[in-house]
């Protein structure tokens, strides 16, 4: 059995074509990336086609169903939902990536350090995690968000509030994985052959952990977007911003479904499903990529 399970590094020349061919085989990664690219393109190029000012109230006639002029319709407050989606998607992605990224990074580092070095390091990190995890995070987020000056609740502070207590999950999961991995044959072999700690971490364990890190990252983005959504539901987010969560909540508060303005909540809901759905697909695809033993041979 081979020691290293790291993915092959693609050759510098002509990598694109094999990569695309690989995507053809790894369908979930392919589809996920395609959806994500479309979304990124939508919010990126959309900025050139819509006026970001139209994403705010009183910009356009209100309560219009989708039409050529307003492809996604307009809401009660006079937002162009097309513009709101372009801006809101960007902001939602921002919160997700910043909070998810920081959370995962802290989690991976702490999880590694904890499981790999053991002893008092492990004990203290684990203790802190175990003390913090049973506390319902939302309460703390709500109180912190609630006690902030409303003008300082911005997209960025939202991300920070969300990440504040979101790193224990990945820490514990990574730690338990590293624990099982430490016991495995290939790590023991590497240790015996005198590979340094860092070498073992980066060459042996980390590559095997990629699916978990990726899963943790996706999970963190979920949590971040969820938490941002909950804060919006309680009226504690930056209410004026066209965050997808805010748009849905405002639609709900005005009885959009009941009043027959279905496009108002449905479009941002679809946006949210697409963002997180594509990340989930990518995550599934990453599993296959990082575990070559189950790559499909077809």
């Amino acid at each position: 059995m081979t020691i290293s399970t790291a993915p092959h590094k693609p050759q510098k020349t002509g990598w694109l074509f094999p990569f695309l061919r690989y995507l053809g085989r790894n369908k979930s990664l392919g589809i996920g990336l395609v959806i994500l690219l479309i979304l990124v393109a939508f919010t990126l190029f959309g900025q050139f086609f819509v006026d970001p000012k139209d994403a705010y109230p009183l910009s356009v006639p209100s309560k219009r169903p989708p039409s050529w002029e307003y492809p996604f319709g307009t809401d009660f407050y006079g937002r162009d939902l097309m513009a709101a989606m372009v801006v809101g998607m960007w902001q939602t992605a921002f919160i997700g990536v910043v909070a998810g990224g920081i959370g995962t990074f802290i989690g991976v580092v702490l999880g590694f350090v904890s499981a790999y070095f053991g002893g008092w390091v492990d004990a203290s990190i684990r203790t802190v995690c175990q003390i913090l995890t049973p506390i319902p995070v939302m309460l703390i987020q709500v109180v912190v968000a609630g006690s902030l000056d409303k003008r300082s609740v911005t997209i960025f502070t939202m991300a920070l509030i969300v990440v504040m207590l979101a790193w224990m999950g990945p820490t514990l999961v990574i730690r338990s994985q590293v624990l099982t991995m430490k016991e495995r044959q290939f790590v023991s072999v590497a240790k015996l052959s005198g590979v340094s700690d860092m070498g073992i971490i980066f060459k042996e364990i980390l590559p095997n952990l990629l699916p978990f890190v990726a899963a943790a990252f996706v999970g963190q983005i979920f949590l971040a977007v969820f938490a941002a959504f909950y804060l919006a539901v309680l009226g504690l987010g930056p209410l004026r911003e066209p965050l997808l969560g805010n748009i849905i909540w405002l639609a709900q508060s005005q009885g959009a479904f009941f009043n027959g303005w279905w496009w108002w909540p449905i479009i941002p809901s679809l946006g949210m499903i697409l963002i997180l759905g594509s990340l989930a697909l990518i995550n599934m695809g990453l599993d296959e990529l990082s575990n070559p033993r189950i790559r499909r041979s077809e």
Partner: protein, 595 residues
Amino acid sequence: MANFNFKIVAAAIVGVAISFTPSAAFAQTTAAVEITPDTPLEDVGRENTLVLGWSVSSPVGVTNPWAVPGYSSSEGNSLMWEGLMFYGIFTDQDIPWLAESIEYTSDDYTSLRIKLNPMAKWSDGVQVTSKDVVFTMEGQMNNDLLRFNKTFNTFVDSVIAVDDLTVDVNFKVPAPRFKFDVLTLKFDTGMPIVPAHGFDGIDNVNEYAGGVDLPHTGPYDLVAWNQNQKIYNLRESWWAIEAGLSEVPDVKRVVIANLGGTIGQNMDTVAQRLVNNEMDSALDMRQDLIASILEKNPNITTHSGSEAPYGYLDWWPNALWMNTEEGQFADVRVRRAVSLAINREQLNDILFDGAEIATIVPFPLFPGLQKFMDTDGVQALIAKYEPGKYDLDEVASLMSEAGYTKNGDDLWEMDGETVDSTINGFEGIHSDSVPILVEMLRRAGFDASTNFGTDAFQNMADGAPGLYMFGHGASLKDPFATLDFFNSRNAGTAGEPVGAYQFARYSNPEYDEILNAMSVIPSDDPAFEGLATQALEIYWRDQINVPVIQWVHRIAYNQTYWTNWPTAENVGVGVNGAFWHKTSPLVVTNLKAAQ
């Protein structure tokens, strides 16, 4: 392997068991937490039951109007308590109730005589006598937790029982509004009469819940109360039937269905439940919602039928309040600029489909107040001050004059500080209007945002920077009560929190003098109109707050099971149709079964 599976199962069972330990600990220490009837309730049928939707907030079992702060007069409790007199806003008539008459006995409004209805009885059969009235009034006078404590101490000198059915009230100063403000039940206000014998042996009347034991005069008895609902049954021996004031009501049972959450949340579900005939009425709705309800269920109507604004004016017109004492809004030019930034026509278009609900005054435009608005004096003031003007250029010139300059974000700024125009408000009732106001203010260069957070009311009480979206619960017939909120006596102490309706912290001796002169004369006194006009001039000149919208009660009346709801075409006794108001007994007992 079988052994291994067994271990998991065993561990799982232990886990679940342990997770229940805290709940077991809680369960042990608790007594009864619900009111349940001793015998199962008889089934009266849906056609005899009135189902009303409300977010119940008061502690289970509190029916004592003197329980502070537990008691809420909404949530069905108003069906248990009556006052000396009701007032029909739409007929402008007093409806004598526990009292046969209330008359001022001196020309200068310093004494008043109450004659009780000899038929009036408590739910336990005991007669309502002057002893109860004296007990109620002395309670208000001596108990500083009660609503009218300060009013009694300001005006009332003595309360004397002349005989079993006659009570004399003597005032320290002329009190022309006392009969209406305190003794008459209308909208959310007025003093209910409580039983003297119901509080025998109770040490602290403010902590006594009341439950099902406290004798009351209203037509319905509480029979069940849990987290899901409150149930009231008709008491066939209700005194008003025998006294000829009411026929035997068709509504045999009232169920207050708890909608959970805070008022105004998840209203589309409430709307759908109304359309499904699950409920007969519920709390008031935003305009588009009620229009959709009418469209989906032709059996449902509103006060104004199927015409906008689908309701009637409530007594709670909303304004953007602000701390006029310190901070950025202490400068009258900034306050005026806020008003100039608001496009009231656009508010009408977006929020009310063009109905003219946006307002320039802090009091509700009921007939008496509308008459005052139409006087030449007030019209001249409107021409002079243009309180409803929308003019961004004038905003710019006022703000520049006040020393502000536009910064890179196109917001007004002085010494590096923008104008903190965070609007503090309440999610359920303000989620339609506040985001629009925020946008209007931003376009005028104010650093506006929305705060529906937990601290919204606290910010208002503390006088924190920002704007406060809040109503004025006061005037009904003349503008005195609302204008009196800005009397210096309500200004509070700088740096200390203040109560509701005192957020302006405005003080001006000139204004106080006018208000004090108004307080001792009735509104039909020839001097009153002139004084009121002067006060209103100061209100507009100093822009004490910025009136934004009148408050409309858009209440759905479902006629599938119940007809004869009070509407504009069918005013009945003249009270408004809100079942959470103190006049609700008159609404409910006048309903007729449809089937």
